[in-house]
Each structure stands twice: as structure tokens, then as C-alpha cells.
């Protein structure tokens, strides 16, 4: 049981059985990744013999907890990394960070602030009744989307679940089109047809926005397959939550990604909860969620998602490996959402303590951490931060005005965008009856 993973600087953590989350110490991170680098496996031959050989010394794991009783299991799960816990690593020196220009570092801050202000603006209007359905806020997790987008090489593709506003803005979608989509307006990125959970921007290598838990994982494999098929030097990144890993299709994906040697990184955004269910109540865990990849001969590692440098270093390396070596990878990133599962989550403060939420806000907020870092590096001043912040706020407010002023989609548009052939009035679109309303 005893992992190395408890939060050293936080006495009494284990008392709150809620605050448990997987983690992220550097040691754990590196071990599996290295160990699994091994033997080149260009050829996927059916060589059961070869397979049989235990291929690596696995992670520092002990035997599985004997009892699966939830209370017990909880203790087996790790805690979030605190900056203190990885004091030994200076991620800023990592090759993926060392050459960053000050302007780039500042742009990461801008992107994170834009996401946060955008969602706060959206929240206000959701609460006023201007939007329908669900609104899943990404606030608290911004570093993951921004860090990822900052590593995309113009040929990489990404796909995520319904908590998709952050990724959308990070890859360059405009606030106006995104906000208008939330308002259900015809000027929205999906013309008001998809809503909050279904943003797409293929021109920005962003393939959604998927409402059914886990559904995006195999699509991500398809993106990776297509890249490899076309000979494009890019990788696919499929995000999924800590709850989504329990969809059967994810296991199927791990097998196929390894078997087909696909250039894909599955990023598990582990925010500790799937709706009201904490990690330890949803997953039987020996070491981490990512370590399930082990059984499929897929590399995996863990990384803290709160510090952009750490995220970029870890993700950058595995993206490069996917692109060049066609080795799939599962990267489990610890992160945290401040709001409920969706805004409509009435229990948002029941299944976790207000203190826990507060602690993440004060100690692990990715924006605050990054601001501190940039101030320390003297890349920006307090005034500079405030300027970016107010610009982001203003941009979000303007986006809301744009959305409010925008027209609803037309009634006819209900029947558009269903069949390509019909929309384009091709020959194929004109034979037989396509729609059965009058």
C-alpha cells in the first residue's frame, strides 16, 4: 500500500478521505516511461513468445491492496503533487521549456486567463437563464489545455470530452463563436446545433467536444491512424477523465493503439471526481489509472498538471515519442475542477469538502502558480498581468454581447447539416426520401 505519493507538506491529509488523488512524483513518473522505452518494436509480429518475456521492471508498486473495500482502497490512492514534492526537479530547464521565449510564456498566461474569464462570463449568463442544458466548467484545469496546445506542431490533432471550452479556446477558436454557441445562436461555432458539449474546429485540429463519456477515445485513435496512414508527422491527443477510463472502449483502445503502433497520447485529466464519485469510489487502482496501460504494453506516466512547465515537459516528450516512434502513451495528469461537475450539479460541495476546494484554489491554482513563476523570472510585472487580465475580461464581455446580439438559427436550419449529399444537392442527395417530417 504505502506509496511514496503522499503530500509531504500537508499533515493530516489522510484524515480527509476525500482529498485523495493520484499523483505525481517525479520518481514515479520517470520509472515506467524509461523502463518501457525498451526494445524497439517496429514490427508487430505475432510473436507470442517474445511477448511473454516480462518486458520491464515495473513501477515501484507493491502488491495490490488486499481488500477492495472502498475505505481501504482510498488509502491506496495518491495525493496531488504539491510544488514541494517535486522540489528536486526544475522543469523550467527541461528541453521543452528551456528555449521558451518570454513572449511565449506570457502568451500561456494570456490563454489561461482568457479561458477562465470566458467561462466566468458564460457562468453568469447560464445562471441568468440565457443558456440551456449543461455547462461543464474547466476552471482550475486551464493549464492542461493551454500546455497541450502550446506543444502542438501544426500537424497534431486533439479531441476531448464535454468539458471542452478550454481546449477550444486554447487551440485558437474565437470567444465570439464559442460564446454564441453556448447561447444557441446561429453564429455559434456549430451554428447553435451542438451546444456546450459539442464544440469542433477541424481547421484548428480540434475534433470536439463529445458528450458520451469515453466516446472520443476511439475517435482519437482514428485521428492517429489517419496521421500515420497519410505519412504525416503528427500525433493525436485524446483527453479523457478519471471516470471515463472505466468505459470498456478505453481498454479496447489501449490494445489497438499498441497493436497498430499508433501515434497517440491518451491524456487522463484526473481531477479526482467523476460527477459526485471520487476516484477511489470509481476505480480499482493498484498504482494509478495510467498504469492500466501496462497490461497492454502501452507506456504510461504520471504528471502534475498545475505547473505548466511540468506539464509541457512531460507531455512534450511523449508527443514527440508518439510522432517519431509510433509509441502510444497514457499520461495521467493531476488537476482539479473548482465548480461542480456541471453548473447544475447541486451537490458540488457535498461530495468534497469546501476546504479541499479552497486548498486547491490557494495552493494549486495553475494561473496563480504561473503568474508567480513569471514574476519570479521577471518576464512580466504585476501591471502586465493586470493588463492581460482586464483584456481577457473585456474580450469575454464583448463575446457575450456578440452572442446576445446574434440571431437564432433559422427554422429551416434544423434540417441542414444532416446529410452532406442533401446539403450540396448532389445526385446522391436527390434519390430517395431522406427526411420523414413533412
Amino acid at each position: 500500500m504505502a506509496r511514496t505519493l503522499s503530500l509531504p507538506s500537508k499533515p493530516k491529509q489522510s484524515a480527509s478521505k476525500k482529498a485523495v488523488r493520484p499523483v505525481v512524483t517525479k520518481k514515479v513518473t520517470k520509472a515506467p516511461a524509461k523502463a518501457s522505452k525498451p526494445v524497439k518494436r517496429e514490427v508487430v509480429k505475432k510473436a507470442p513468445v517474445k511477448k511473454a518475456a516480462p518486458k520491464k521492471a515495473v513501477t515501484p508498486r507493491k502488491t495490490a491492496p488486499i481488500s477492495k473495500a472502498p475505505a481501504k482502497a482510498a488509502k491506496a490512492v495518491a495525493k496531488p503533487a504539491s510544488p514541494a514534492s517535486k522540489a528536486s526537479t526544475d522543469w523550467s530547464k527541461d528541453p521543452f521549456n528551456a528555449k521558451l521565449k518570454p513572449a511565449e510564456k506570457v502568451s500561456f498566461l494570456r490563454e489561461m486567463l482568457r479561458i477562465r474569464r470566458f467561462e466566468q462570463q458564460a457562468l453568469k449568463h447560464y445562471n441568468n437563464g440565457a443558456m440551456g442544458g449543461f455547462l461543464h466548467l474547466y476552471i482550475g484545469q486551464e493549464s492542461v489545455a493551454v500546455g497541450t496546445a502550446s506543444l502542438m506542431n501544426g500537424q497534431d490533432e486533439i479531441i476531448t470530452a464535454y468539458r471542452d471550452h478550454g481546449h477550444a479556446l486554447a487551440v485558437g477558436m474565437g470567444m465570439n463563436e464559442c460564446m454564441a454557441e453556448l447561447f444557441g445562436k446561429g453564429t455559434g461555432c456549430s451554428k447553435g446545433k451542438g451546444g456546450s458539449m459539442h464544440f469542433f474546429a477541424p481547421d484548428k485540429h480540434y475534433w470536439g467536444g463529445h458528450g458520451i463519456v469515453g466516446g472520443q477515445a476511439p475517435l482519437g485513435m482514428g485521428l492517429a491512424f489517419a496521421l500515420k496512414y497519410k505519412g504525416i508527422k503528427g500525433c493525436a491527443i485524446a483527453f479523457l477523465g478519471d471516470g471515463a477510463v472505466n468505459q470498456g472502449v478505453f481498454s479496447e483502445c489501449l490494445n489497438m493503439a499498441a497493436l497498430f503502433e499508433l501515434p497517440i497520447v491518451f491524456v487522463i485529466e484526473n481531477n479526482g471526481y467523476s460527477m459526485g464519485t471520487s476516484l477511489e469510489r470509481s476505480s480499482a487502482i493498484r498504482h494509478s489509472l495510467a498504469s492500466r496501460a501496462e497490461g497492454f504494453d502501452v507506456d504510461w506516466s504520471l504528471c502534475g498538471g498545475f505547473d505548466l512547465y511540468e506539464l509541457r515537459a512531460n507531455l512534450g516528450a511523449v508527443m514527440e515519442k508518439a510522432r517519431t516512434k509510433f509509441r502510444p502513451h497514457v499520461l495521467e495528469v493531476s488537476t482539479y475542477r473548482y465548480y461542480g461537475h456541471s453548473v447544475a450539479d447541486a451537490n458540488a460541495k457535498k461530495y468534497r469538502s469546501p476546504e479541499e476546494i479552497e486548498r486547491y484554489k490557494t495552493e494549486f491554482d495553475p494561473i496563480t502558480l504561473w503568474e508567480k513563476q513569471l514574476l519570479k523570472e521577471k518576464v512580466i510585472t504585476e501591471d502586465g498581468i493586470e493588463k492581460i487580465n482586464s483584456e481577457a475580461k473585456a474580450e469575454a464581455a464583448t463575446a457575450a454581447e456578440f452572442a446576445i446580439a446574434s440571431p437564432w438559427p433559422s427554422e429551416e436550419s434544423i434540417f441542414e447539416d444532416i446529410y452532406h449529399e442533401v446539403d450540396h444537392q448532389t445526385e446522391a442527395g436527390q434519390t430517395g426520401r431522406h427526411f420523414f417530417s413533412e
Binding site: M131, G132, G133, F134, E181, G184, K185, G186, S190, G192, K193, G194, G195, S196, M197, H198, H210, G211, I212, V213, G214, G215, G243, A244, N246, Q247, G248, V249, S274, M275, G276, T277, R281, S282, S283, N347, Y351, W408, P409, E411, S413, I414, F415, I418, F435, F436, S437
Partner: protein, 324 residues
């Protein structure tokens, strides 16, 4: 008689059946400690404990299949789908396993399971979350499909479904959970396959299930007050088994049928009713059978437009008037 919500009526049915039969258990995402995503199972975990009311991971295929296996062993699982739309990742378990095992075992094995949850559009959650699969589950012989419209029916049909020895797909509606109605205390059953005439009339039969029944009742009022047309409203309550007799009797009385259905038109529930009327009520009909269904497009997100996609009372009124 106490007046309670549709949600509470279901909750009462669970509480009573859990207490009555120790083989009954509830299972699904967030059903226990969170009290249910839509609070339908509120308080049951506290009352019956973790053996009887069980939270699952987000693994529909696995827990639906687990339900089938447990039911084969004689337990009576009541498996919640947070939305019926999420059944699609576990359809193999529902259709191939729950639906076919009795047949393929030559009757050796039963699957007395209830699969339940909301199946409706109209809440701006987009296409992936707005499916109404009653038609295509009813397309599988071996499965039963039930769609209650009122709190009274919800409780009585749920108790029957739990006691039924076959798999029942029980489809609720998030827009109805807060509806109030008179519901007796204590257990009572409503047989599956028995429709109810919710309003008597002589001029036209409105045939519906689920929330479309309420839409039809509203339309019937307008037709009566504004047009002097007395519509009869037939609530199917269960789609399979289907109460053909009540449908045919009503049409034999009114000689006109308008089918109101939140299902899509293509091979929807209304298509089956239309086929029934063509085969067995041809000589009774004074006008073609007409339908008011969900528009034949994926559910749109945009709030005002989604309203247009589902049948409303005005659309039903217009359709009825067009048949005279």
C-alpha cells in the same frame, strides 16, 4: 389520496419493492451516495445500505451485463441509466443478452431485470443526450418497453416491471419528474400491455405515450373549447406489450386517428400504430391516419429551435383540424 411527484412515485415504488423482496437491488451511476443524478433514488442508500443500492463506475456495458447475469441467477436488478442515451455503449448487453437469452436457452433462463432512466429530448442537451430509443428496443422480441406519463402510472408500472420475469426497459422523462399527481400509498400494480383512455371523446383518437400524452390532453382541451371537437386520448403506457384492443376500440368509436409521438417518425412507435390501423381498422377510418412526431433531425441544442422539434399542443390541434 396523497399528491406527489412522478419522481417520488418512482422512489416509493423502489422503497416498497426493496423492502418486500430481498432479491431486488438498485444499481447505476450516482444512484446511491449522490442520491441519483435526478434524485429519483434519493434516500434509498441511507435506508437500504450499500448492498441494495449500489454506485457503479461509468461502465454501462459492464453493469448492464452484470445485471443480466445477476438476473439469470434470480436476482431482480433495477439498473439505472443516467440517460437512456447512454444505453448505446451497452446495447449488446441489452439486445443480445437480456433480449435473446431466454429464447436461446429454450426457456431455461429468465432475465427479470428492469433497465430504467430518462429518455427524452427538450432539455437543450444536444443530440447525444436526447435519444428516445423506445422504438428500437421494442423492435427486439424478448424486451418489454414501458413509458409512463403520470405519477400514478409511474409507480404502478414500476412495481409491475420489477415483479415481471422478463427484462423491462422503463423510460422516464426528466421533464416529468417534477409533475404532481395523486398516488396511493402502498403497493399497487398496473399490468404491462394495458393502455388507458385518459380522456373520453367521440370525434378523433389521439394516441400517444410518455410526455406526448400530456401534450395530447392539452390539445384535446383546446379542440373542445375552441373547435367543438371532442378528442379521445389513449395513453399506450406500454409500447411492448402493446394494447391493440384499446387502440382499435377507440378508433372504431371516433373513426379518426392522430398519432402523437416524441419518437422520430421513421420506424417510430407511431409507425407501428399506423400499420396496426391500416391492417385492422381500415374500414373504420373516415380519414387518413395522421402523425405528429419529433422532427426528423438530430436534437438541436439551440433553445427556441429545440422547442419546435417536439410535438406541442398547437401542432396537434392543427393536425387534427386538417383531418376534418
Amino acid at each position: 389520496m396523497p399528491v406527489i411527484t412522478y419522481r417520488q412515485a418512482l422512489n416509493d415504488a423502489f422503497a416498497e419493492e426493496l423492502a418486500r423482496d430481498e432479491n431486488v437491488f438498485l444499481m447505476g451511476e450516482e444512484v446511491a451516495q449522490y442520491n441519483g443524478a435526478y434524485k429519483v433514488t434519493e434516500g434509498l442508500w441511507q435506508k437500504f445500505g450499500s448492498k441494495r443500492v449500489i454506485d457503479t463506475p461509468i461502465s454501462e456495458a459492464a453493469f448492464l451485463g452484470l445485471g443480466v447475469g445477476a438476473a439469470m441467477m434470480g436476482l431482480r436488478p433495477v439498473v439505472e441509466l443516467m440517460f437512456w442515451s447512454f444505453a448505446y455503449v451497452g446495447l449488446d448487453q441489452i439486445i443480445n443478452n437480456a433480449g435473446c437469452i431466454r429464447y436461446m436457452s429454450g426457456g431455461l433462463i429468465n432475465v427479470p431485470m428492469v433497465i430504467r432512466g430518462p429518455a427524452n429530448g427538450g432539455t437543450n442537451v444536444g443530440a447525444t443526450h436526447s435519444h428516445t430509443p423506445e422504438n428500437f428496443l421494442a423492435n427486439t422480441p424478448g424486451l418489454k418497453v414501458v413509458c409512463p406519463a403520470t405519477p400514478y402510472d409511474a409507480k404502478g408500472l414500476m412495481i409491475s416491471s420489477i415483479r415481471d420475469n422478463d427484462t423491462v426497459c422503463f423510460m422516464e422523462n426528466t421533464l416529468l419528474y417534477g409533475d404532481l399527481g395523486e398516488v396511493p400509498e402502498g403497493a399497487y400494480t398496473i399490468p404491462l400491455g394495458v393502455a388507458e383512455v385518459k380522456r373520453e371523446g367521440i370525434d378523433v383518437s389521439l394516441i400517444a405515450h410518455g410526455r406526448a400524452v400530456l401534450t395530447s390532453l392539452a390539445a384535446a382541451e383546446i379542440l373542445s373549447v375552441e373547435h367543438g371537437i371532442e378528442a379521445e386520448v389513449v395513453d399506450l403506457r406500454s409500447i411492448r406489450p402493446l394494447d391493440e384492443e384499446t387502440i382499435l376500440n377507440s378508433v372504431a368509436k371516433t373513426h379518426r386517428a392522430v398519432l402523437v409521438d416524441e419518437n422520430k417518425p421513421f420506424c417510430g412507435v407511431s409507425s407501428q400504430i399506423a400499420a396496426l390501423l391500416a391492417e385492422h381498422a381500415f374500414d373504420e377510418l373516415d380519414a387518413p391516419v395522421l402523425r405528429v412526431t419529433a422532427l426528423d433531425a438530430p436534437a438541436i441544442y439551440s433553445m427556441p429551435l429545440e422547442k419546435l422539434q417536439l410535438p406541442d399542443a398547437q401542432a396537434v390541434v392543427a393536425k387534427v383540424l386538417s383531418s376534418f
